[in-house]
Amino acid sequence: MISPYMESILIFAGINIILAISWYVPHCAGLISIGQGGFMAIGAYVSAYLSLSGIPFYLSLSIGAITSCVISVIVGLPALRIKGLYLILLTIGFGEIVRIFFLNFEPTGSAQGLGGMFPYTTLLNVYLTVAIVMFFINLINNSHFGRAMEAVLEDEDAAETLGVNLTTTKLLAFSIGGFIAGLGGGFYAHYALYIDSDNFGILRSVEILTYPLIGGISSLWGGVLGALFLTSLTEALRVARDFRMEIYGGIIVLTMIFRPQGLLGKYTISWKSGRRALQLFKFK
């Protein structure tokens, strides 16, 4: 039906979509992370190690994601007290620490990496996961949790005086992001079939950032579309592949200059943005 080549592109795109979503959720509460690569690494290594030890795939995947989630709570705690630029630095530092950790950690192969996983990742389970995750995130966003996150994003102090618990709201957003990144890592490990610490460093985290930058940072679909677009682009164009990093870097710079809210920012379809677009037309 689909050629193996197409399927491969779509699976990588699906994994990147999952990672894009993992960036989006913390952002909902105003937390900008350039360290999702680190959470991806944790999910990848833990799930790979477990599946290699004979544990069923879905269980390994879940444990990997849960581990990532727990670590994200630990990382998130100091993140509560620091804001803006400091938080970004903390996430970058975290990502690098994870990379160095796995570089030296014997049980998962240290510098040689970990390989030999069985290819459990399929088109079906990746995109099924994407759909389920997006469904649940929509539920959250339309609930009081979602309103709390948006309030924290727009004005923390005002939100606090209205009764919003900053600690739980931020930790919730951050840990959901960690969990989802862990899922992405697990799927990646069981598709690439070989992982080493270099796959998940700051470059990966920056790559993850480019997905919402292209597709629009303020909506869930933004990152999704951005991930689809960028993955297809770089896999499809041979020239693009050699200059992949330069293209990513260039995209970042150009986006920041011309449309920091994401290239497709205003035009990305989402229920909220659609309603707001109508609002804008009303008064102008």
Binding site: I140, S143, E150, E160, T161, L162, G163, L172, Q279
Partner: protein
Amino acid sequence: MPILEVKKLTKYFDGFHALESLDLAVGLGSIWAIIGPNGAGKSTLFNLISGLLNPSKGEMYFKGVKLNGMKPNQRTALGIALTFQNLRLFPKMTVLENLLVGQNCRIKASLGKVLFRLPFRPLSEEKRAQVFVQKVLEVVGLLTRKDELVSNLPYGDQKLVALARALATDPEIILLDEPSAGLNSQETSDLNRLLKTIVENGKTICFIEHDMNMVMEISDMITVLNFGVKIAEGPPSIIKGNLKVIEAYLGTEE
């Protein structure tokens, strides 16, 4: 018992005395005004009560419960709500959404309940919150504009949203920072009526104001601050003729 009490409340900023040993006891169900020239420490007082700032010295009590050390959201859950001089509405959210945030402290549902409920059956707490917020919107007169972005509203309506948002937390006392600033006389008398209605429903209102007419018209009690110190306190009739108060206002560049 006074609903809100502060004892010897003091706040220093790098050597600057914003508030100096203030004692205040706001009576339950009253409309209590805090007045004084600019820089007298009024907004600082509200920031201390709300929990956004920590006092250098002194204590605060709400219905006998000590507030010191409590985070702002805990104080809101207790029943203290406030509005800001510069409104601080959530610009990208609608009127309804702004108000619903206020109900967050009253919704106890956990994440699990949110994620795993039966589809298309909203949580009962969510329904309750929506109903409550609708009522607030009715009282305040914004029901027809509930789905509009707050940034699109005229200033007078935005001020109403700020007030409504505070009401949406289902508070017992509301602290208003210059509620009539920027309003014309019609809007101000509407506001006066609204505030009186709120108090008739059992709430207490404590507000900072510069509009003396409004203060004299609706307050039960007035506390006057100058340079962080209380210089007078009493019902409007007494404060009106108080020489010290007049001096304080005329002596500064108003």
